[in-house]
Symmetry: C3
Subunit: 216 residues, 3 copies
């Protein structure tokens, strides 16, 4: 097993834990938790593969992604106190998974001939997509839409890969730099509470557009 | 029209009723109800077809799926008291639809060359996908994530098809056995209240991962 | 740049404003708002392209869609009072975007060989898809499911295109008629408060189907 695959599966495993944890907090049954594990870990990659025309997606055709996702779900279900104790480490693993998915997603999009900007965005999507659907399924506004620097860290890592591949430096170098940049940005955002500016409460902008305001 | 297609359309019809009913409960207008009918009945199959690369999906290219979905939506909209009276039968039809979709979805995934485990999971997805999106659209945590044995029944039926096709017994036999197993499991779960273990309330596991806790 | 592309990008821009506004109302950060802008403006077209097998979707392979979406998001973020003042015009632009997307989506689906009914529905989906996902991401029941004549206006415009292309009249004529019909229907619905009949509160139809009723 190559280092690339090993890291990829580690990322899958850690993201699956985040899905399982979200399910456990809402007291879903074992099966619901396993579904959330798989979705959180693989939805980003599946969406990327569908958009670039690489079907069936790797997460569907390679059983190891499924195995890593289910293993994480089962562990979280039966040993949630352990997972709780490890939550600090999990945050670090989560940042590592984000970094790796962003970088490898960008590589794959470039290999399928997408333009550089869209390749970087698909790399970002690979990193953040799973968490978005996880939150939608448990009826939350996706954390990535409102939280600390998360998607931006993924985008920064992806951008390094895109720029590096245009400059024809060694792939190993720019891949490592991109992943480390994303990882470092995310950890700094966690530890220092960095975040992007939020929109000021805008009053009733466009509320005539949104019938839900009136019908509620 | 073959028996296969007849049963498939019956499944579509019954799932569409479940979508229309969810919309009627929230007092959506007729069009919203028809959209929910179509989504609940066809999203699972459409997702499967996109993932295995069979585009346009059958639910898009064959008008009969649309017709069955809209018919169910219109009936539910105008005769909801009747649908209410039939709700027991509908539960039975729903279990039948689940069984059929799981089995036929697995067949299709195998025919497109997926490995056995993923073919079974895609069969399951065909059965449960529509209901998941139906619930997300009406702003609920998907029932399948938290309810009685539902996805598991679909997976059991799909597994029979996968195993049967590997053993080279008659396709008619293992298809019927798989569908009946799913159907029976689901009915037993309803009548006897069978369910999977749920996660114990886990306190604050991983809550440092989930910024939404703090920002609410 | 052809008139077609110009109008298409204008539609993208206006839908992106609707996404950004939805995000600003929930005080998302800048990045979350940009994600919502892109999703609201492009999800409908991306879904259509995936379903008809045209990958990578235009919104992914042509950078101008991204640029229009981000521009709209940035403007909304920094000048939301201005956007608020323009909200009447935005409603008009939104109707124009809906009309254009419905018509151009139908054209594309016909060009990929879909049957007429499904081509019209995919045209409608192109118009309404982005707004549906925008609302799901901010944890609302999609406006299009419950609001004034919106999806129906898109469907009417799409139907004109389908019928026109079958009758072999000039494409310019039926495209313009379809877009104008959709545009006019939507504006009339806004100004006169037209809406479709809603389902009567149906009591407890099918509630044995929906375990969430009991578990809440």
């Amino acid at each position: 097993m190559s280092l690339q695959i090993l890291l990829d599966l580690l990322g899958t495993f850690v993201f699956a834990i985040s899905g399982a944890t979200a399910g456990a907090k809402r007291q879903l049954d074992l099966f619901g938790i396993l579904v959330l594990s798989f979705v959180a870990a693989n939805f980003g990659g599946i969406t990327r593969d569908v958009l670039i025309g690489s079907v069936p997606p790797a997460a569907i055709s390679d059983w190891r992604y499924l195995a890593a996702s289910l293993l994480a779900g089962v562990i979280t279900f039966f040993w949630s106190p352990l997972v709780e104790k490890l939550s600090n480490s999990v945050l670090v693993f989560d940042a590592a998974g984000l970094a790796l998915f962003a970088v490898s997603g960008t590589h794959k999009a470039l290999a399928f001939g997408l333009n550089p900007v869209m390749a970087a965005l698909l790399g970002m999507l690979t990193g953040i997509g799973g968490g978005m659907v996880r939150d939608v399924l448990v009826n939350e506004i996706p954390t990535v839409l409102k939280a600390d620097i998360y998607a931006l860290a993924a985008l920064a890592g992806a951008a390094v890969v895109v720029i590096g591949s245009a400059l024809a430096i060694s792939a190993t170098v720019y891949t490592a730099v991109g992943a480390l940049l994303c990882f470092a940005l995310r950890l700094m955002a966690i530890h220092r509470g960095w975040h992007l500016p939020a929109a000021k409460p805008a009053g009733h902008a466009l509320n005539r557009c949104n019938q839900e305001d009136e019908s509620r």
